[in-house]
Amino acid sequence: MNDLIITNGRVIDPASGLDEIGDVVIAGGKIARVGKARPKARRTIDAGGMIVCPGLIDVHVHCREPGHEEEETIETAAAAAVAGGFTTICAMPNTHPPQDDETAVNYVIQRARQANLARVMPVGCITKGREGKELAEMSLMTEAGAVAFSDDGEGVASSWIMQRAMQYARMLDVVLMQHCQDPELAGGHMNSGAVAVRLGLAGIAAAGEEIMLRRDLALVERVRCRYHVQHVSSAGSVALLRQAKAEGLPVPAEAAPHHLLLTDAACMSYDPNYKMNPPLRGARDVEALREGVADGTINCLATDHAPHSAEESELEFSLAPFGIISLECALGLYAKALIASGAMGWPALIARMTVNPARIIGQPLGTLAVGCEADVTVIDPKRRWKVKVANWQSRSRNCPYDGWRLTGRAIATIVSGQIKYEA
């Protein structure tokens, strides 16, 4: 007897190029069959009018545990993930203490297992304490289950250390995820430009991102390791990535929903919900990012879900921390930025949220291939809904999208054949 059958949906599996009406059959936690036949199952979900696709993957989530459990825990982040249609999230290592050794990696894995919601895959620090000075124990963390390495929040400033990290990443066949930002140009609070000048806030120029990206591309060309660019924010970075790809050096890169939807003009109110790192930039950058995602220069979408407590949201803009939460509305945000705008259709969007991120982290996920883990998301592409942050699973509320009307959301999230979320 099969466990679950999802009938009559538009089955989109970018990994195999599949896009047709059919059924997805799940048995023993694995994909048993995709097609038209309808064997019996313990549970049937009628997905008529819905999209059935591989479970969504977000490679950039801040779970805050350990250290800031008042803001988020691995359990609440995983609950927020499945409520947003995500079956896998990667936990960034800027926790307190930072995830920079195998014990910390084991802790994330153990807490994720206890939560038993989405898969939570640990990302280890590139350097000890995220200080950029000494390599962290990448081999031991990889053995323990770290799927990637990043000093997210900061870029690795030293070219010397970064080159060493790349050599290790190549040996271990793991990916380095870089938050590209030259630290000497990082002192500001928002995008450098007319709005920052008007508000009297110190700016963060796009050049700071592009300088480190250029450097890293030169190092990747030399070392040939797996390397991924986090939250690309500027038109200049998109151009650099496109050029690198044309010259035979394709590197994966992600875009965050806020960089695809908002500009620095939103900071005019001094609302810290618009304070991001990298910062919201100009309309030209938003346009370039959308084009970059559409043409595949940016092949991945990731939220940079960054919970902060209400106390921190009551601070002055310049004192408030960077980042916002969006796991539970990300799909609708991407649909607004990329599908409603005509930049792409659902199959292309789903590729950037499933098979592409799975390949970036080197995991056999993000596909409906028979025998694979039955991570499946059912999406109602036409569902119109209003963002109500107060009702979210996340423990934090720092989100600028409250009250937004979106179209498209996950109505069922299945991890290893088990329904973890149902709208």
């Binding site: 000048v197 009297g200 601070l315 310049s318």
Partner: protein
């Protein structure tokens, strides 16, 4: 914005001649010049004009704010602005409380908002806020139900300084429309510059900001001003020169190679003054670094209106305190000098 007042409130403004629709001040906060219309700016200036007379009386007090509590919240150091607001509030018969962050609970880690909420719990009508962080008064105004006056927020705005500068210009030049004003110095980190640019532009003046590119962000032109990197180039063409203080304490690092070079290239001295129009007005928001951005000879000379600015600051702050507490009330024009 605020409620409408009855149309019976008669304007006493000289230049409005009673022909225009009566103006009603509707703002309970003064956060910046950004939000003010030209009409509102003129209204503050006119109100200040009538308050100026109070300071010439033998009993320099009016009961306009009797029973009101004004809290002066100085999260950042200030001499002039704080004393000016304090005297203005007491001339209007308000009770005042002064908070300075040194030796307060802020030093123990209390947030701005908690500090203000605690003081508010004592029953405060008006908060005058000086803060090192841009947008701090705006944040407070969203969360605290009281009138908020921005007395300088980081590098953002300092509206009462701009109002007193414009007031002084109007007094000395007869008006500001069509006049050309140079603002010289560290524009990037100056709230005085921003508020002046916004206010002067709204009243039809031209503004040129002067300084090296490290101090003059090119995007400042979006606020409607021009940029020059040469003080000598603009000297002969301006009606007033507002010299900003070099703020050693605000931002470290390489804004200019040396004080000596800066004062040689951008300092206002007698030789430069001689190349200006005879009646050019020399302004400075204070405190002055004598011998750096301005020489004593110029600062104390006949073209200088630096002390007049300070005197006018009192009238402007009385006007602002008065207006925000009367916001939207119909009796606005009649009660103030009784």
């Amino acid at each position: 914005m605020a409620k409408k007042a009855s149309s019976s409130s008669e304007s006493t403004k000289g230049e409005s001649g009673g022909q225009k629709r009566p103006f009603v001040w509707a703002r309970k906060d003064l956060l910046g010049m950004d939000e003010l219309s030209a009409e509102e700016i003129v209204h503050v200036l006119d109100t200040a004009e009538s308050f100026r007379e109070v300071s010439t009386r033998s009993i320099k007090k009016v009961p306009a704010l009797r029973g009101k509590v004004v809290a002066l919240m100085f999260f950042e150091d200030s001499t002039r602005t704080r004393m000016s607001f304090e005297l203005a509030a007491s001339r209007l018969s308000a009770d005042t409380m002064i908070f300075t962050s040194k030796g307060s609970s802020v030093a123990k880690g209390e947030t701005t908002l908690d500090t203000v909420r605690n003081v508010k719990a004592m029953g405060v009508d008006v908060f005058v806020i000086r803060h090192s962080q841009p947008g701090a008064p705006h944040m407070v105004s969203r969360k605290v139900d009281a009138s908020i006056i921005n007395a300088g927020d980081g590098a953002h705005e300092h509206p009462t300084q701009a109002l007193l500068d414009i007031f002084t210009l109007r007094q000395r030049l007869g008006g500001v429309a069509g006049r050309r004003v140079a603002i010289v110095g560290d524009i990037a980190h100056s709230r005085v510059a921003r508020s002046n640019i916004l206010g002067l532009r709204k009243l039809g003046a031209e503004v040129v900001v002067v300084g090296p590119p490290t101090m003059v962000p090119s995007a400042i032109t979006a606020m409607g001003c021009q940029i020059s990197h040469s003080l000598d180039d603009v000297l002969g063409e301006v009606d007033a020169i507002n010299m900003l203080r070099i703020q050693f304490e605000r931002f470290g690092g390489n804004l200019f190679p040396s004080l000596r070079e800066y004062s040689k290239v951008y300092g206002l001295n007698s030789q430069r003054l001689a190349r200006c129009r005879k009646d050019v007005l020399v302004m400075h928001p204070g405190p002055i670094n004598r011998g750096v951005e301005i020489t004593s000879h110029v600062a104390d000379g006949p073209n200088s209106c630096i002390l007049q600015q300070v005197t006018n600051g009192l009238a402007i702050r009385m006007a602002v305190l008065y207006l925000v507490t009367q916001a939207g009330e119909p009796e606005i024009r009649n009660s103030k000098t009784k």
